[in-house]
């Protein structure tokens, strides 16, 4: 049963971007490509040869592999409701965050490896935004450690249950912050516009300007996986324990669909922020997560 979470995340990764694109096209009055089109593109890329920059070194070639491996590794820590994850120990979310950071580290290096100023720009932004969003994640996990008394993903999600009004508030706020974390991690609107045509205004897309062929396919699929990964974490907040699998799987899929649609809707109606407003926006979520922590203290009666 431990593989269930893994399986669901993989399935989800196949359609996630497709749903986002479809949502966007419906809102803009187009028919849009099929749900599986992004995956078909990735498969096509995986079969192609590559063009390498003459400036790049071996870092450029191993970076996509490390990135992919980091995300796969992170997936192993995600439980499914009260089903344990494949790997689980006290403080596993620290490993989760740091292994993702390792993947990011290599992608940033790969961008700098090409010597392109555009890619340097993207790398700089990626590093900065990731740095700013990291504390929010840790404070959230800290709040839930305080709330449940456990310090692992599996422990937290299996012990999580909502009792009072404040806890529902906390649940909603947390899901909201996690959606933002997912958007920042994946460089989506309103932080970054993946469909912009101007390199100067990109974050993630400009970092991979020089990647092609197999590497590019790997990176694109890794992005899909990362979305599914964060979707799974968000879904876990709604899989309150005690539910049987025939309830929890539909809930899980439902949450993923809603998440994808939210991303699509945001991208259809919001404009990307100005780059220099992004840091403020991201730091704001650290304070929201501190708010969540205070809320948890309230629930536990530590604050009077």
């Amino acid at each position: 049963m431990r593989l269930l979470s893994l399986l669901l995340i993989f399935l989800n990764s196949l359609i996630f971007t497709g749903i986002i694109i479809r949502t966007k096209s419906i809102f803009s009055g187009r028919k849009g490509p099929g749900i599986f089109q992004p995956i078909k593109d990735i498969v096509r890329l995986l079969r192609k040869g590559s063009v390498y920059s003459e400036t790049s070194s071996f870092i450029f070639k191993i970076a996509p592999v490390v990135y992919m491996a980091a995300i796969l590794m992170a997936i192993l820590f995600i439980p499914f409701g009260n089903q344990k994850s494949i790997l689980s120990f006290d403080g596993d979310f620290v490993f989760f965050a740091y292994v993702l950071a390792l993947g990011r580290f290599f992608m940033i290096l790969a961008a700098l490896d090409t010597g392109s100023s555009f890619e340097g720009m993207g790398a700089s932004r990626e590093a900065l935004y990731a740095m700013l969003i990291e504390p929010a994640f840790f404070i959230l996990m800290g709040s839930f450690a305080l709330l449940t008394g456990y310090t692992s993903f599996a422990g937290i999600f299996s012990a999580l249950h909502f009792g009072s009004y404040i806890s529902y508030g906390i649940g909603i706020l947390t899901a909201f912050v996690f959606i933002i974390i997912a958007l920042v991690e994946n460089s989506r609107m309103p932080i970054d516009d993946p469909k912009t045509h101007l390199e100067l205004t990109m974050v993630h897309e400009v970092m991979v300007l020089d990647n092609s062929g197999f590497d590019m396919g790997l990176i694109l699929y890794a992005v899909n996986l990362k979305f599914a990964l964060f979707g799974a974490i968000i879904a876990n907040f709604f899989l309150t324990p005690g539910f049987q699998w025939y309830y929890s799987i539909p809930i899980y899929i439902g949450v993923q669909l809603v998440f994808a649609c939210i991303v699509g809707v945001v991208e259809s109606f919001a404009a990307r922020f100005r780059m220099n407003h992004n840091p403020q926006f991201i730091v704001m979520f650290t304070s929201v997560s501190l708010l969540i922590f205070v809320g948890v203290l309230l629930i536990l009666g530590k604050l009077k």
Binding site: E54, I59, F105, L109, S116, A123, L132, L146, L218
Partner: protein
Amino acid sequence: MSIILVMTLFVFAVTIALIREKYKSLMAVLAVMVSSLVSSWVAIGVLTGDAYLENINGGIVFGHIPIRIDSLSAWFILLTNFTVFTGILYGRQYLKKYAGQPANLSLHCISYLMNHFALTGIYFIQNGLAFLCVWEVMALTSFILVIFEHGKMETLKAGINYLIQSHISILFLTIGFIWVYAHTGSFVLSAISRYSALGTEATSILLFFVFFVGFAIKAGFVPFHTWLPHAHPAAPSHVSGMMSGVLIKAGIYGILRMLLLIHQNHVLLGIIILIISVLTGIYGVMLATVQHNIKRLLAYHSIENIGIIGIGIGLGTIGRGLDNAYLTFAGYAGALLHTLNHSLFKSLLFYGAGSVYQATHTMNIERMGGIIKKMPQTAVLFLIAALAICGLPPFNGFISEFLIYSGLFKAVSTGHALSPVFVLSILSLALIGGLGILCFTKAFGIVFLGRARSHYPESMNETNTPALFPQYLAAFFIVLIGLFPRLFIAMLKKPVELFSGLSLSEGSFELSFVMQRISIAVWGFVLLVFLLYLIRKFATLNRSNTIQPTWGCGYTAGSPRMQYTATSYVRTYTKLIKPLVKTNKGKNEVKPINAMPSYSETRFFDKIESGLIDWPLRNLKAFLGMFRFLQNGRVQFYVLYGVVFIFIIIAIPFILDVIQTLTYVLKQL
């Protein structure tokens, strides 16, 4: 043992002074090897068995000097020996570029040996006065090590800055030891423990902070860190590696030793240490990120890592106060392991920076680039150390940071009233981690990747193998600790038990289980990377790959100078932290008439330094300037001053007598 160490030092020092220049550094290597072997042998015995005891009669001056190596000392001795040894191995190659200065080289090598001896001495001497003496020897010899290139004004300035600040540190320690001596009549360290048991809580805490300031100057806690970013870039690379790796750890050792001796209100002490450390960590990495001198950048990172170690110490101390075995173990074990880890990766980073410096003749990273193609091994070693210092998984930095994180999360989850403090520490650790990544992607990316940003003075080659060997040695341990953390956690059990009595089995057991899981996860990750790499290799085996210039978005005349620079890489970040650092910008406008070369430069200064050191110094200088008329250059006046001085000295007893008679007379009235 101490006799053997002194003898080794003496014999080798004389030999180094006498033999030909070519063999001096070889002798130094041998000397370090011999004394390391002796002290390591004893230290390993202590870590596996009982404490080592020895007594020296220090005569009338010192009295009884107990020599005692417990497991805490043993841990520090071992990590010191390792880095001092790799340091001299690397330094031997590094110093080859400075051939032809036999006297300077002798001085340098002998100072290095004495420094090693003093460092070891600090860890085993249990007499305050003797401790101060070896501490002084360490300060003086490291000053000589720093000013190796004393022809440069900057180096001398940095060295003197270091010398003065070291002595402020010694001043505080002296006050502390004399304070205890005045109350107990003994300089032996255990007297501190007796004194703190007798005295009130407030005096113990004050005494602790007197010692803490003394040791914190050496360790580089904010705001006592200001010598560090000057001394490290000025010193030769093996010395900076050694200093940053092990010398500043003497300060950490001192703080830990004092925590063992002073038993009062651990929770309060822990919280204060935690707060100072959090500030240290954030401030260090914040300033590291904007530095463009590679060695200064690394120096600021040492401050950051001292902060992380301090967070561990603070956490452990709070755990002791709360009688929580898990927190105590996670905190102290994290701090001690991070001390070792930092000595490994920081020395490796400095060696790498040294090799780069010798190849490019500059420390300004804005002028580097593309070195990975010329020096691939140095680049990979630097990368490993950079990943480790950022605390990223398959390496050692992750293990120690994980211990501290897990302690903090555990502390939060127990729902203690202090949990907001712990959550804020978690926040700052996460911030430090993120900033570390920003900083080291910059350092590695700008120095080693891309294309050369300036013309290098000579054709660049990989450093020779003897210089790479110590780097591989350090890298080996970095990877080893990352892959087999349980081995090292087991070694840490004894030192940590010193702090908590004997109630540790529970907390360490839990953690050792977690460490086993981490080990599995780390191995899994390494295998996963390897597997994916193989898949990639086979999948792309028969593809047609082409090599093309970097995609310039349509622009085809790109030059290396158009690459992203270090300044631009951290520009958004610099704007964010603008209120916290002092920025000086200099540029000139390009004028079409007289074609002056245009430039634009940004320099970042330490705001704490300018407030705490520069500003008072300026005022002091202005004040003392008022007495400048005394120094008028005429010999007659100087003779007069001498006469006046002697007269006053002689007159003092008479004046006292007069005063006494006067007061006597007044009292009679």
